[in-house]
Amino acid sequence: MLCKALKYAALAAGALCLSLPAAQAADVTVGFSVPSLSTAFWTSAAYGVEKEAEKAGVKLVKVDAGNDNNVSQQIGQIQDLMQRHVNVLIIGAANDDALKPIAERAIASGIPVIGFSTPPNTDKLASYIGADHYDMGRLQAECMGKALGGKGKVAMMSFITGQIWADLRAKGFKETLAKEFPDIAIVAENRLATTRAESITVAEDWVQRFPDLAGIYTTVDDMAGGVVPALKAAKKSVVVTTSNLSPSTQKMVHDGDLPCSSIQKIVEQGRNALQQAVLAARKEPTAKAVLLPALMVTKDNIDTIDLSSVSAPADYRP
């Protein structure tokens, strides 16, 4: 009887062993921790990191906290990666403040940390990789300026306050308009709306208040996704610009409902993060910050533009 039990146990152990790849020998092991690999952003980021790791011939250990909110899970996973003695960590934080102590603990134990897009809130990072959000706002301003012929009234949906990336995009938009298109006036700015539904309400208020409103800036494409159909239904011709490129946004640009969208090179960010990580692991000098310029997608280039630096191919599985 006991033999039977042992046989099952051995079988189980065997099954577990087989399901794991044998540890490889590489001089550098990179730990990569993200909040959620079920979002398009982190999947594309993981793709970039992974491709670059293959190219550099280093071992990559990815962990996924499973949800944008699983802060304690992510901390636990980083604790595991530290135990595994990875040489360097790349962290996209589920919560920048909550990940600060564990990141600083890793750094104190001799494991350099690269902050990725949403870095742990510490000034001891070896490097930070992210999009140039100011540039994304700047490109929107250029697109808006051209579409309006350099004059008219514009309103901004700038996302909620306290989101640094949203602040930077809005800043890039405002400063570029002021410099390059001084005849365009910003007549209103909303910092409450974030969702599709909220954006529709705000846009409807604006077209009532400003009958001659010519343009609306939106921080993310979710907002534009609400605003564009609502304005279309109200038969208002208002130019809407946005950032990011979800499939529905691609369609709107393709159909000419949106003149443009400024997007970040997510895969390219992943590649840069891995490059900086390898430098840090080998104790070579790293760049304090790598900000990747934005890309402009318009009706003219949407069918031809190379998006390989932006998003992972559809058949990629992290």
């Binding site: 577990l16 909110n69 304690s72 604790q79």
Partner: protein, 337 residues
């Protein structure tokens, strides 16, 4: 405590009760599944990764399994009395938020808010399930949403509540601290389990829990106040969720309104792999302790492995299935023995 004559008769003859609840040696085999699977997982990963089978990593795994273990042992108590609690994840999230805010105004004393929040929700669940006869799935789903909403409302903007300077460092340092190599959080967890074991096996209340779980009607006939015992079981489960909040605060140093999604199901898995049965009547803290350890060992091992996180989820799922199968298989082997 009121003890009716019938009650005390039943309590004076524990052997009769025990044999009916299959308390014999063979009945205990189901509680060893957690130990067996934890050992198998640890051995498999230690054989695969050089850094896994070290004392250092054992301490690491022990420092991580606390939240799941404490939630699972709470879940075990309600499963024992034929219920379950879906609200534990949301309740501990709410408890972290309230506690963080309490600590920011009152200092370390505010830590007491965590078990209190848990007890309030446990009481609510218990009263709904017993006196109002609401089915556990509805009662605890309702309180899950209630707790989640309250957590988001209590936190400014629905964002995480950062613990103020000193209190945060005290908690975070406790998470790192160890006594003779054993993490303080693991000792905390162990104490919770010892207390639960004491309540179950050495008190009249514990015996009543088993009686209600085994057969509520018979328990009522011998004078056990089934409703009150059920309320107490849910309250204990809520209390455990509150204690989990303390462990989470020690790890993150923040009140996190959106934490704990999915933990209700994991804690149920912990209770069941630990030998509980959803139909009630079975409970063993020892089994649940190792079941939670098994789940954390597997998770940590998969984090070591570097395999695709998607595949890792599947391996995790297969391991839990394997544990379930092992339970069945062992029962067949030892019953025919």
């Amino acid at each position: 405590m009121d003890t009716t004559v019938a009650d005390s008769v039943a309590l004076r003859r524990p052997c009769a009760v025990r044999s009916r609840l299959r308390f014999g040696v063979l009945g205990q085999v189901r509680y060893t599944i957690g130990v067996a699977t934890a050992l198998i997982a640890a051995a498999a990963f230690a054989a695969t990764f050089a850094d896994f089978g070290t004392f250092e990593n054992a301490a690491n795994v022990l420092s991580l399994f606390g939240p799941l273990a404490v939630l699972s042992v709470g879940q075990m108590i309600v499963v024992l009395v034929r219920g379950f609690d879906l609200s534990v994840g949301a309740v501990f999230a709410l408890a972290t938020v309230i506690t963080a805010e309490a600590m920011n105004t009152a200092g370390l004393v505010g830590l007491a808010a965590a078990p209190l929040v848990g007890i309030v929700f446990g009481l609510l669940n218990g009263v709904l399930v017993s006196y109002f006869r609401v089915q556990p799935v509805i009662a605890t789903l309702g309180s899950l949403l209630l707790a989640r909403g309250a957590a988001l409302l209590a936190a400014p903007n629905g964002q995480a509540v950062i613990l103020g300077g000193d209190a945060q460092m005290v908690l975070l340092n406790l998470q790192l601290a160890n006594i003779a190599g054993v993490p303080v959080t693991a000792i905390f967890t162990l104490i919770v389990f010892l207390v639960v074991a004491f309540v179950l096996y050495a008190t009249a209340f514990g015996r009543r829990l088993f009686m209600v779980g085994g057969d509520p009607r018979s328990a009522a006939l011998v004078g056990v106040r089934v409703h009150a015992v059920t309320v107490a079981a849910y309250t204990l489960c809520g209390f455990c969720a509150g204690l989990t909040a303390i462990l989470i605060l020690m790890r993150t140093g923040m009140g996190l309104p959106t934490e704990g999604v999915g933990m209700e199901v994991q804690s149920l898995a912990g209770a069941v792999i630990g030998g509980s049965q959803l139909s009630g009547g079975y409970a063993n803290p020892f089994g649940v302790f190792f079941a939670a350890l098994f789940i954390q060992t597997t998770q940590s091992g998969l984090n070591f492995s570097g395999i695709s996180p998607y595949a890792a989820e599947m391996v995790m799922g297969c391991s839990i299935l394997l544990a379930g199968l092992l339970d069945r298989v062992s029962q067949r082997i030892f019953r025919t023995a």
